[in-house]
């Protein structure tokens, strides 16, 4: 919802930033075959990220589709938000370009203590409440998957996928995605499914054309 909206805004920013470089823009859309959920999502969710057999995956399943390649970093750091509300991270899966600062506002009435021991980013925001100003934030400058935990609420889990590309999109629940404003050329299109699974396929993007690419 809001998170997804922000997501798209961030993607749009990225596309706009690249606009002068590419005269004609390509697009890609398609469908990613998502894993069948183990059970129907419940109304009062507590888990956005589930772990099964050592694999962390979003629930319900979505995919992050991104275009891998060598793209210029943004001049000004982008900003994204991951809030803590009802003892959950929202969104629980956040894809950002390298160099993005992510803010972690606490919308709950209780303390949270977000930390990560992931190799891509280690940090510890310490305990804070909703009135904490400035809003605690972290700059993600190394690509990779970052697992976020709360030291106080051991069930809270979130993933931030730090990508070295401005072209990425999160699919809907059916796996459909669309990437606009892509540069033409040969690239590798990747679909991140979970902590252990990333699908990829080489694509040839042509200006003004929309490539249809399904995974797998």
């Amino acid at each position: 919802m809001t998170a997804l909206g922000l997501h798209r805004i961030a993607a749009l920013f990225a596309v706009l930033a690249m606009a002068p470089a590419a005269l004609a823009q390509a697009a890609a859309e398609g469908r990613v075959e998502l894993a069948r959920p183990l059970h129907t999502p419940v109304m009062n969710k507590r888990y956005g990220i589930v772990a099964y057999a050592g694999v962390l995956s979003p629930f319900p399943p979505v995919a992050v589709v991104y275009l891998e390649g060598s793209f210029p970093r943004p001049a000004a750091p982008a900003t994204a938000q991951m809030v803590q509300k009802d003892l959950m991270f929202l969104p629980w899966l956040l894809a950002v370009q390298v160099g993005t600062r992510v803010e972690f506002p606490n919308l709950d009435d209780t303390y949270h203590n977000i930390f990560s021991y992931s190799p891509a980013k280690r940090f510890d925001l310490g305990r804070y409440r909703s009135d904490e100003r400035p809003i605690p934030s972290q700059l993600f400058d190394v690509p990779g998957l970052v697992t976020l935990r709360c030291d106080i609420h051991e069930h809270m889990r979130a993933l931030i996928l730090v990508l070295d590309t401005p072209h990425f999109a999160v699919s809907d629940a059916q796996g459909r995605y669309r990437l606009d404003g892509l540069p033409a050329g040969r690239y590798v299109l990747k679909a991140w499914l979970d902590s252990k699974t990333t699908l990829e396929r080489p694509v040839l993007l042509q200006s003004g054309a929309t490539l249809h690419a399904d995974f797998p």
């Binding site: 190799p119 697992t147 935990r149």
Partner: protein, 589 residues
């Protein structure tokens, strides 16, 4: 054989002694058995109380230790769930494992904070380590933060594999100053939240629990006994005992009595970590039995003293009781002996009396019979002489006197015969109604016929008929004897008085005469046989008349008594049972 009353005779003494011995034996046996039983019972109960006290104390301490252990385990369990530790293990940040744990265990580790506790049961950890997937210790980056352990000590934490449940273990620590001590460790598995597998284990080391003051307890680990409360020498022996007890019993718990350092102890072994992957450790608790044994010894002395007093009391009591019990028996025995002796004597006397009596009666009868015949022959011969013509007048008078003497002799013989028959009980009175008056008149008639040398005067007053119950022959004899006496013992010119009357069912006849009185001292003897008192020899008589009269009167149901004898007057009284006057009796002619 003569029996006399002698309570101290050997027979009675032995009876009393036997009784005393029997009572003493019974009392001694019963009281000894009772005392022994009571002593055993009390000793057993003292021992049981001691054991119970010990076990209760031990159980309380175990409960406290279990609570502490549960708290420690809970603490470990909470630690094993900490997100940072999980993050370090799951997110590939092993370098952050120990630092994260240090932060988490900041309040648990000793010396970690200003508010550290110093109590025995403090939940402070001494060291902690993590185990890797193969159960080996993950080396800490900085030993200062995690509690220092020597290589030998750390190697004791290695388990063959990761445990799937909390494990309790004990490791020996070689601390130079305090000697060998043992630390308790708890290994808590860490289960991944990502795949549900055991990915590690956290091992926390604590100071081993110490039990209370009364109980000395230590930990037996790998053949070593850590029991600082005991001197080293005693500890060595005790370790052997504990090892033997553990090996022999092959069970997790048990109580034994052991000797350590010359003092007895009650030893309990309990497996501290049953089913653990760590080497087996046993808690060895010893409780000094010296107090218990001293109390038991005291008890034995007290019982012995009480028993001695009791036996002494029993001796006195049984002496008293036996004396009391034997007294009536002794009395009975003495009495029965006396009775028997008396009976023997009486029987013998009776027999002899009876024999004497029979003999004398037979003698009297025989003598009388034997004498009567010669007297009759003599009189017949003398009377023939008198009838003959050969004697001079002088000689005739002599012979006449002799004839008279034969009559007297015959009378004496008759009397003797009669007495002997009475003595033998063979004299039976043939009672009939008898008028006494003719008998008196007949005698008066006879008196008139006798030559009167004394010139006696006779007064008589009697009713015309006086009927009595009796036999005429013997009643006559009574009267003749008394009247003859009244005549014989009279004086010259004296007086005889005969008075008869009926009075109150009796016929009373009083015969009095003048003459010498019967002296008071002799009065009681005059009715005895052959007693003649102080009468002169010139008075004829043989001393059986009064006796015969009284015996016969008594056979008639009456009596003869001396009514008075004073001055010149002596009076006898005869009484017969009065019979019914035939004139008054209706229906009789």
């Amino acid at each position: 054989m003569i029996f006399t009353r002698e309570p101290k005779s050997p027979g009675f003494a032995s009876f009393r002694t036997r009784l005393l011995l029997a009572i003493m034996l019974v009392v001694s046996a019963v009281s000894t058995a009772g005392l022994l039983f009571a002593q055993h019972y009390v000793a057993a109960s003292v021992k049981r109380d001691f054991q119970r006290e010990f076990q209760g104390e031990l159980a309380a301490l175990h409960a406290a230790r279990d609570v502490r252990h549960a708290a420690l385990a809970q603490r470990c369990r909470a630690l094993a769930r900490r997100p940072r530790i999980h993050a370090a293990l799951e997110d590939g940040a092993l370098d952050l494992l120990y630092p994260s744990a240090r932060d988490e265990l900041f309040d648990v580790m000793e010396g970690g904070g200003p508010s550290r506790e110093t109590g025995t049961y403090a939940l402070h950890a001494r060291f902690y380590r993590f185990l890797d997937g193969k159960g080996r210790v993950i080396s800490p980056p900085n030993a200062n933060d995690v509690g220092e352990l020597g290589p030998g000590e750390e190697s004791q934490l290695n388990l063959g594999a990761l445990p799937d449940s909390p494990q309790t273990g004990y490791i020996a620590r070689a601390e130079a100053a305090a000697g060998e001590t043992v630390d308790e460790v708890i290994a808590m598995p860490i289960i991944s939240t990502e795949n549900g597998e055991i990915i590690s284990a956290i091992v926390l080391g604590f100071k081993a629990p110490e039990l209370g003051a009364g109980i000395k307890s230590g930990i037996w680990l790998n053949g070593h006994l850590d029991l600082p409360a005991l001197p080293a020498a005693a500890r060595g022996g005790l370790a052997g005992e504990a090892a033997r007890a553990i090996a022999a019993a092959n069970r997790t718990e048990g109580g034994y009595e052991v000797q350590a350092g010359g003092a007895p102890y009650l030893l309990f072994c309990k497996r501290l970590n049953p089913g653990s992957l760590f080497p087996p450790a046993y808690e060895v608790s010893i409780y000094p039995l010296a107090d218990s044994l001293a109390r038991q010894r005291l008890l034995v002395w007290q019982f012995a003293g009480a028993g001695a007093l009791l036996l002494l009391g029993a001796l006195a009591a049984s002496h008293f009781v036996s004396a009391r019990l034997s007294k009536p028996v002794e009395k009975l025995a003495v009495d029965s002996e006396e009775n028997r002796a008396q009976r023997y004597r009486a029987e013998a006397a009776l027999e002899s009396t009876s024999r004497e009596l029979q003999r004398s009666a037979r003698f009297s009868a025989d003598a009388s019979h034997q004498l009567k015949t010669p007297v009759t022959v003599l009189r017949a011969g003398l009377e023939e002489l008198l009838a003959g013509q050969y004697l001079s007048a002088e000689a005739r008078e002599e012979v006449a006197a002799l004839v008279h003497q034969t009559f007297r002799l015959a009378g004496v013989i008759e009397d003797l015969l009669l007495l002997s028959r009475m003595d033998a009980g063979r004299l039976q009175i043939q009672f009939s109604r008898l008028n006494l008056t003719p008998l008196i008149e007949a005698w008066l008639d006879d008196l008139g016929a006798l030559p009167d040398a004394l010139g006696l005067k006779v007064d008589s007053s009697y009713p015309p008929a006086l009927w009595i119950d009796g036999e005429k022959r013997y009643a006559t004899l009574i009267l003749q004897n008394l009247l003859e006496n009244a005549r014989k013992y009279n004086r010259v010119g004296g007086r005889i008085r005969i008075a008869a009357r009926a009075e109150g069912g009796w016929a009373i006849l009083c015969i009095g005469n003048t003459g010498d009185w019967v002296a008071p001292g002799a009065q009681e003897h005059i009715f005895e046989r052959f007693h003649r008192g102080s009468v002169g020899e010139n008075v004829p008589g043989h001393g059986i008349g009064l006796n015969l009269a009284r015996e016969l009167a008594r056979l008639h149901g009456g009596d003869v008594r001396l009514a008075r004898s004073d001055g010149e007057w002596t009076e006898f009284e005869v009484r017969f049972r009065l019979a019914q006057d035939p004139g008054e009796a209706p229906g009789t002619p």
